[in-house]
Amino acid sequence: MRDGGEVPSPARPGEAAASRQVVVRASGLGHRYQPAGMPPVTALADVSFSVYAGERVAIVGATGSGKSTLVQHFNGLLTPSSGRLEVLGEEMTPERPLPAARARALRFRVGLVFQSPEDQLFEETVAADVAFGPKNQGFPPSQVQERVDWALRQVGLAPEVFGRRSPWALSGGEQRRVALAGVLAMQPEILVLDEPTVGLDPAGRDTLIAEIRQYQAEGGRTVAVVTHDMELMMALAERVLVLARGRLVFDGSLSQLLARGEEQLRLWGLVPPPLVRLVARLRAAGWPVDEGCSRVQEVARQLREATRRWR
């Protein structure tokens, strides 16, 4: 699936709500650290929220708002320094960090794609690099091979063609997709991506979004994406968490967030996407357009209806 255009509308709201199985639950989560020779930094403070199975969540906020720190807790790379975090039934508190073996097992279930993940490629061939995860999971070679082929196809790279190439012979966009395949090959229940679209051209971004959505839709997997790319948020998320200076300042649906208006978004360090500004202008000019409209088609439909009525 790669239409490159508008991504299909989100799943019916009832779908995720029906199962209502919590996969991530943070209660009063805080994280502090101490850089050498400098005062301690509070990266996260008192963050509480739940993520349900099958949801598509965007975690947004300005640079330094604690987004990346937050998601690195999801797979046990970081341990909370206050509060509690539960991920897929594994519990982490400052007093009881996850034992190393359990944390490692959790990492196969919560796949984390880092920012600029192409920086981590290391094997001689694309196939060998993608195989790193499943191999660590302990799958026999035949199954590893199967998963590698599957993952490469998921990101639109033919395994027969790309599998044998060196990762450094690929373009930046292809390298990023190989790195994504490296995480998809573990088939995690929760897929977390940290700024996946940074540095990609618009076509590359649309392709990536489509691939993420396809993975999510298969088997109702959960996707959390950390970003300050508002276009990505609009295209992918049904729910949004906004972080500002380490605190959770908003938790709600995408349309609820957009309905907060441009001024509020700017206060949180977010630059509203053009569509939101267009809706605001239209409303200011007296057009009956719903606040919180997140799709161009929806705005167009409402405008069409309004003009028809006036005629």
């Binding site: 050498a36 020779g37 190393a100 990492r107 920086d119 290391f122 660590n136 573990m186």
Partner: protein, 265 residues
């Protein structure tokens, strides 16, 4: 704990203490003096005196002692290794024997001495990098090496290389940390297994680290080239180094004190 929290070497802690304001040339000479005289010391009293001098300097420079000690931690393995070697393989008066392992009195003494030297060497040298900004350090080094230019010593290039190296230490540490985390996220295990397994588990970290370092070096060279960088020839400085009486006094006092300690104690 994160790597950047542990390793202090090559990191500047901004401040306005007397020691911070000393001329970088004075501090570089002081560090050379410190290292040189340290190797001439061989008695307990001598080491005590050096510890005293170090504490005095740390107090003057108002550096956090905890941070200074944290910087020593990466050297721990080296120290443990040297101590073990010295204790077990120095011939002399046998104190204790178990199988082929013997502990001698001379071994214990040498081990203690080597440990003291390594610790004092590292902490003394980190005072320089902690209190001197990389820019000042490079300027100071260049000024000290300039007389050597007559004999073909590339003073400016050496100073530039050093300041680039220092500049990239934190960057590389951050990068190492990020790559380690990314590979851990794919199930890499750096903590278990024997030494060989652990060494092998670092391959997925070292290869991307080197690839990125080379790419970064290329980018940097290109950026310097693009700004028509041509080295030190005819280059002027915004901040001229100024040697003051405080620099002479500090250096003179240190020469007298450290040489005295090395000579008499």
């Amino acid at each position: 704990m994160a790597l950047t929290e542990r390793i202090l070497l090559g990191q500047y802690v901004a401040g306005h203490s007397f020691w911070h304001r000393l001329d970088p040339r004075a501090k570089i000479l002081w560090t050379i003096l410190w290292m040189g005289t340290l190797f001439a010391v061989s008695t307990v009293w001598g080491y005590m005196a050096f510890v005293g001098v170090l504490l005095l300097v740390v107090a003057i420079s108002r550096l956090p002692v905890g941070a200074l000690l944290r910087g020593v931690r990466p050297l721990l393995y080296l120290i443990v290794f040297t101590v073990a070697f010295n204790v077990l393989f120095t011939p002399g008066v046998v104190l204790w024997r178990w199988g082929f392992l013997t502990v001698t009195r001379e071994g214990l003494v040498t081990a203690a001495q080597v440990t003291a030297r390594l610790l004092l060497l590292l902490t003394g040298a980190s005072v320089l990098t902690l209190t001197t900004s990389p820019l000042a350090l490079a300027d100071g080094l260049e000024a000290l090496l300039r007389p050597g230019q007559r004999w073909g010593l590339p003073a400016h290039e050496m100073a530039m290389m050093m300041s680039i190296a220092l500049r990239f230490i934190p960057t590389l540490l951050e990068e190492t940390e990020k790559i380690m985390k990314a590979q851990k996220a794919r199930g890499a295990d750096f903590e278990s297994g024997n030494l060989l397994t652990r060494a092998r588990s670092l391959i997925p970290v070292l290869i991307p680290l080197f690839v990125n370092a080379f790419r970064r070096a290329d980018d940097l060279a290109l950026a310097m080239e693009a700004r028509a960088y041509r080295g030190g020839q005819g280059r002027t400085h915004w901040r001229e180094l100024q040697w003051g009486w405080a620099d002479s006094a500090t250096l003179l006092a240190s020469v007298v004190l450290l040489l005295g300690v090395a000579w008499y104690l």
